[in-house]
Amino acid sequence: MLLRASGERDGTAYNLSAVTDDAADAGVPHSDLIRGLTEAAVRHDAAALATLREAANAAMGEQQTVDTLAVAAAFNGITRVADATGIPLDANTQQTTASLRVETGIDGFDYGAKSARYDGVASAAGA
């Protein structure tokens, strides 16, 4: 949803499906490298990180590489704050992103739905 807002601000139509579709190109510079660094950082994949840092240093420079990893690290933390507290969407986001959430599959991450899905599975398994 942040990427959508960024596109609206700079007048660029980014490919929002790239958020959840590994094969899609987001349309931002160095999209593939950024995606790889982000995923390796979240998964703590040291081997992949070493290879990707080298490639990113060559393509983007060290500061962009470091800043990419800094943003990934920050969101690896803040997404857990949201996941652990079950906060609802902000009201304006709720209103303006309905189609986007369907398009990208983000609606499947709704905390109420996840609680019903996983807690429900556990109940069924224990029955």
Binding site: V19, V42, V66, A70, T85, A91, R117
Partner: protein, 230 residues
Amino acid sequence: MYDTSYPVRANLREAHEQAWQLIAQPGAFWSGAQRVQIVQEARAALRCSLCERRQEALSPNAVQGAHDTASALPAALVEVIHRLRSDPARMTRSVFDEALAAGLSAEQYVETVSVVCTSVVIDTFHIALGLEAPATLEPQAGAPTGQEPPKVVDGGAWVPLTAVDVQDGTFGLPRAPNISRSMGSVPSAVALFFLAFRPHYALRDIPLAISQAQAEFIASRVSALNECFY
């Protein structure tokens, strides 16, 4: 921290060092020793066989057992820490409810979330740069400090949210987004997490070498990986 040739920004390094020191000090609801153990337990979750088996299961709640622990923290607290560290995508309301049923207070839960998530930011950035996660500090002695009751409301989350005027009345934008209100029942927990987070990101005019759109793409990808609805 950050003994590396990579150009780690000075404000980020300083903020992380301050946050690391804060974790080792008594919080409002956990002692310094307990907060350091919360970090150690979060790291243990990455090597925990129960957490690994749960990640492979259709539902984490379908697999029972004991965690591989690194501390003497109460089992209910260990469960929260391990779930949040190893499988955030499948954190559910039952994790929170069961923690409270086992005797944790909502405020202890929130302070735990703050400490774990702050350590996740710091550890992830270290590991991403090819560094060892930093050693935990010697905890400062002392009991939890307690706090003045903050003004909170039921905003539809599992936990109480900071009470604010929801709309600013001019553009209809939220005065404070729910993410910044989510730990509002423990203001020191909000302060700790955002001390570490703030140098990494801004909603506009991001002060980094990457563009705002690149930063939002990264944020969105992490959100998808961690199945973050917000």
